[in-house]
């Protein structure tokens, strides 16, 4: 699923323009590509400036006895003029060029979209330390893993319930902060189907490091199917064990979690109606597999110290039933 990252691949991929599922140098949308190009242009100009500076220093180093600058000489007025030229004139011209290029031209692509300008809107709400994802106009609610249709402009409206977070999926666009009580917008778009990793980018407390998110760009048909499923209430538990699991859930978990179609309506943690349709648990902290799930339920603090989820005191049969139930929440 993920590419392994040895040092060789890092170096190679860097040479080729970036790697990793969270790299700003591996853009998969027009805004992200514009920003990456802006970076490469600024890098080239910076290398020229840096080389020029080093040239002068090396000149002084190798020829400490020389008098005057190359071509310019040593007359005080000429030296003052050189300071004015390279300290004022040249920077002024290049800075104006950079300003127009970056803040007028590139910025047009990264500006927040106006409401209703895009085909679709998704509400992403940051909390310590996970993301709630809603699809307005539908009943679909999920967490941490955002699905979008490929080649479609999607407006993300983000805010926070507690402290400041920052929504950032670098391969698709720049970041924008998620503030309490002040929604911000940013557009995302994906050229091709794939999984694009993101992360909270504003320090938000003890588990800031484990507040990942992922955007899955699907074909329109797959996306439609996914969204339809997401909007439905949970499927009734098919086995007696799973039915017992639902009872355990309603006693132990319902005060914090919602499973649509049951009495569990807690609003503290993520909506778990279709938990099994997600690839990870704990905001990309661990894989969503049976063993991890059981471990997470029994001892979340070891897996993600500080998470708001308390350890559950379950008997063996209760745990077995609960996991059986949750494994079927597709």
């Amino acid at each position: 699923m993920l590419n392994r990252a040895g040092w060789l691949s890092v170096t190679l991929a860097l040479a080729l323009g970036g790697c990793g599922q969270q790299s700003t140098l591996d853009p998969h949308s027009e805004p992200a590509r514009q920003i990456a190009t802006l970076w490469w242009v600024m890098l080239v100009v910076s290398v020229i400036v840096f080389a020029g500076t080093c040239y002068l220093l090396v000149l002084a180093w190798w020829h400490p006895e020389r008098t005057g600058l190359p071509l310019i000489g040593d007359r005080p007025r000429a030296l003052d003029a050189t300071v004015v030229a390279f300290g004022i004139a040249v920077p002024a011209v290049s800075l104006i060029a950079l300003f127009v290029y970056a803040n007028v031209s590139v910025a047009q692509h990264t500006e927040p979209p106006a409401p209703a300008e895009t085909a679709m809107t998704i509400e992403v709400t940051g909390s310590q330390w996970w993301w709630q994802v809603r699809y307005p106009g539908t009943t679909a609610i999920t967490a941490n893993e955002i699905h979008i249709p490929v080649k479609t402009r999607v407006s993300i409206v983000t805010q926070a319930t507690d402290v400041i977070h920052s929504f950032w999926v670098p391969q698709l666009n720049r970041k924008v902060d998620s503030l309490p009580g002040q929604p911000n917008r940013v557009e995302i778009y994906a050229d091709e189907p794939g999984r694009y990793r993101g992360q909270c980018a504003e320090f938000c407390g003890i588990q800031h490091a484990q507040m990942g998110l992922a955007v899955y760009a699907d074909t329109p048909e797959r996306f439609r199917a996914w969204l339809d499923n997401m909007a439905r209430p949970r499927r009734a538990p098919p086995t007696p064990l799973a039915r017992k699991g639902e009872q355990v859930f309603s006693q132990q978990c319902a005060s914090c979690h919602t499973i649509r179609g049951t009495t569990a309506r807690g609003q503290v943690g993520p909506d778990l109606t279709h938990l099994k349709s997600r690839e990870t648990l704990g905001a990309l902290t661990i894989p969503n597999r049976k063993g991890y799930l059981a471990g997470w339920v029994l001892d979340p603090q070891t897996m993600k110290e500080g998470t708001k989820m308390p350890a559950l005191d379950l008997t063996g049969p209760e745990l077995q039933a609960l996991v059986e139930y949750m494994e079927r929440l597709r």
């Binding site: 392994r4 990252a5 040895g6 890092v10 991929a13 990793g20 790299s23 700003t24 140098l25 514009q34 920003i35 802006l38 600024m42 910076s46 400036v49 840096f50 002068l56 002084a60 180093w61 400490p64 006895e65 020389r66 005057g68 600058l69 030296l79 003052d80 050189t82 300071v83 004015v84 300290g87 920077p91 002024a92 800075l95 950079l98 300003f99 970056a102 803040n103 590139v106 910025a107 990264t110 507690d162 402290v163 400041i164 670098p170 970041k175 924008v176 902060d177 309490p180 009580g181 002040q182 990793r197 980018a201 504003e202 320090f203 407390g205 800031h208 490091a209 484990q210 110290e305 500080g306």
Partner: protein, 635 residues
């Protein structure tokens, strides 16, 4: 002057001056001193200690991040470490080292004064700085150090999300240390304006003093917003007010605005004294006067001034209106120009001079290289879309370490070598000095350069750990390796200086052919600094041979020796004409005692024993009253 035996008449005057100016010796002497040189040395060792603590924190951080899923420290302790590293380096190490140690020790010597304008307030600044540092660090004892980052954003820093005392140490500690900083800044402004040696009109003042002047003004205007922000936060936390609470009509972004109105000028406060050190070292080792002197002086002032108009470039991702972001990006670009002026003035001075690449100049060359790199990445952050992509990643961490470590600490280290002979009277080892430079330079780049790359690869800052499949592992390992090499380089400097202090060759008064007045006095300088108030007719006073020989003659004749008491002359603001002779205060217990009572007051505020805190405030008032009683006449 002390190296050549002076004639008997002169010697009698020197003895008399020594009797008047020498304070008590021993521990009491250090606790009650008002001598700017002693206070500078106290500042030096205190800020060096904090620098070492901040460095240890950095090493722990790098060790934790050496590989993915590190388990050297717990997540909460990591957050305390990264917060304390920032707080320590900025508030307790670099700025006090530059202004408190270098500024205090050197500025009166450079302007030909016998002390600071307010010697006791100077001592008060130091003791308050020390007390506030102890106050902040005492939080680590209970494992409750500040943990919301050095800029401490709300609502994370509010009582609701950080219920422990962590943030109270931060708010009260920084208010406490702000008192010291404000007093220092005011002291420097008055000293520079009023105590310059007669003849040192503003256009003849060394560029180092311009830098200190610019920084002092910046601090005077930058600290009130910080103090306001901190007071609001402490009121929110301690008394349940709602300045920053959205639910009650407060505003979370208010904190960010207030903090960065202080925080960005603060960045220039950090680098300007370093620029000043560079402009002191470069002419000496290039054997020529600075190119474009007036432009450089104006650029130093301009940087401090424009620095007040750029704060929101720290907030380009918070969703400000486009017109706002455009304005702040443009202002941030403008500040490049005064920096570029200084940069080219330094380089051209070196290239067109006869540079001697000895240890101090090596550090300045390193500084120029690193400052260009840090400056170039700084310009990139004025490109709004790039900022919004890379802010809060390791790219920013790389950028500001190139600026703070490269452009501020490198000149400091060069300055330590440069003035070591002046302060101790001994020469450092040149070979060991060069070796320490190269190891530090390599370690610095190995630590911080890869951070650009890992930032571009998407690694956010302030993460206590990272997963192993994101392509960041090897780069982080390199950074950690670099951090240890960097630490070795810094230890080599300490070793060099410790050994040289014991065994170094005597340095003489002026081992480098320096251009400013501190080189005209003995090494270490006498307690009264200048036997005779020096004559100044250019910004390179030490290179004006006739003036210095004239001083010697006037000492023999007893002309402007001012041996009648604890005296120093004051001069007019612009032209530095003779104004009047000031009777300077001598040693006192009051500054030390005030810092103790204030420490008690802030501790009680932390513990929310407000009545007891009021008691300590009253005690402080009593000591202040005692301070202002007429002092006994000396000599």
């Amino acid at each position: 002057m002390a190296t050549v035996a002076p004639p008997p008449a002169a010697q009698r005057r020197l003895d008399r001056l020594e009797r008047i100016w020498k304070g008590p010796s021993g521990l009491v002497g250090w606790l009650t001193t008002v001598d700017h040189k002693r206070i500078g040395i106290l500042y030096f060792f205190t800020s060096l200690t904090f620098f070492a603590l901040g460095g240890l924190e950095a090493l722990l951080i790098r060790t934790q991040l050496m590989g993915p899923n590190g388990e050297i420290v717990s997540p909460d302790f990591f957050n305390q470490l990264m917060s304390m590293h920032g707080i320590t380096m900025i508030f307790l190490a670099v700025i006090p080292m530059q202004i408190g140690a270098f500024g205090n020790y050197l500025l009166p010597l450079m302007i030909g004064a016998r002390d600071m304008a307010f010697p006791r307030m100077n001592a008060l600044s130091y003791w308050i700085f020390l007390a506030s540092g102890i106050f902040i660090y005492s939080s680590m004892v209970g494992g409750t150090a500040p943990n919301a980052g050095w800029f401490d954003y709300v609502p994370l820093a509010s009582r609701q999300y950080t219920p422990g005392p962590n943030i109270d140490f931060y708010t009260l500690g920084l208010i406490f240390t702000g008192i010291a900083t404000s007093a220092t800044a005011i002291n420097f402004i008055v000293t520079i304006f009023k105590l310059r040696a007669p003849g040192m009109s503003l256009n003849r003042m060394p560029l180092f003093c311009y830098a200190i002047l610019a920084v002092s003004f910046a601090l005077v205007f930058a600290l009130p917003p910080l103090t306001t922000a901190l007071t609001f936060l402490e009121l929110d936390r301690a008394l349940g007010l709602h300045f920053y609470d959205v639910a009650f009509g407060g505003d979370t972004l208010l904190w960010q605005h207030l903090f960065w109105i202080f925080g960005h000028p603060e960045v220039y406060v950090i680098i300007l004294p370093a620029f000043g050190i560079a402009t002191a070292i470069i002419p000496t080792f290039s054997g020529r006067k600075m190119v474009a002197f007036p432009l450089v002086a104006l650029a130093e002032i301009a940087v401090a001034f424009i620095g007040f108009g750029v704060w929101a470039h720290h907030m380009l991702a918070v969703g400000l209106a486009t017109v706002t972001t455009i304005y702040f990006a443009a202002a941030s670009l403008i500040i490049v120009i005064p920096s570029a002026i200084q940069l080219f003035a330094w380089i051209i001075t070196i290239v067109t001079g006869r540079p001697r690449f000895e240890t101090p100049l090596l550090w300045i060359i390193g500084f120029i290289v690193l400052f260009v790199l840090g400056g170039l990445t700084g310009i990139m952050f004025a490109a709004i879309p790039f900022d919004q992509q890379l802010t809060d990643t390791y790219f920013v961490v790389a950028h500001f370490h190139y600026v703070i470590f490269g452009a501020a600490v490198f000149p400091l280290l060069g300055g330590i070598y440069y003035w070591f002979p002046k302060v101790t009277g001994r020469m450092y080892s040149e070979r060991a000095g060069k070796a320490s430079f190269w190891v530090t330079f390599v370690g610095m780049n190995l630590t911080f350069f890869p951070m650009h790359i890992v930032g571009l690869l998407g690694m956010p800052r302030r993460q206590y750990t990272y997963q192993g499949d994101l392509g960041w592992n090897f780069i982080n390992l390199l950074e950690t390796l670099g951090a240890y090499i960097l630490a070795i380089g810094l230890l080599m400097i300490v070793a060099n200086l410790v050994v040289s202090y014991r065994r170094g060759a005597p340095a003489g008064d002026d081992p480098f052919g320096g251009d400013t007045l501190e080189w005209s006095v003995s090494s270490p300088p006498p307690s009264y600094n200048f036997p005779v108030i020096p004559k100044v007719s250019s910004p390179y006073a030490m290179w004006d041979r006739e003036d210095r020989e004239g001083d010697m003659k006037r000492l023999e004749q007893g002309d402007v020796v001012l041996e009648g008491g604890h005296e120093t002359p004051s001069s007019t603001l612009l032209d530095a004409d003779w104004d009047e002779i000031l009777d300077m205060p001598s040693q006192s217990w009051a500054p030390f005692l005030i810092s103790v009572t204030l420490l008690g007051m802030f501790t009680m505020l932390l513990l929310q024993h407000y009545v007891v805190a009021l008691g300590f405030a009253a005690l402080t008032g009593l000591v202040l009253a005692a301070w202002h009683c007429k002092e006994p006449q000396v000599a």
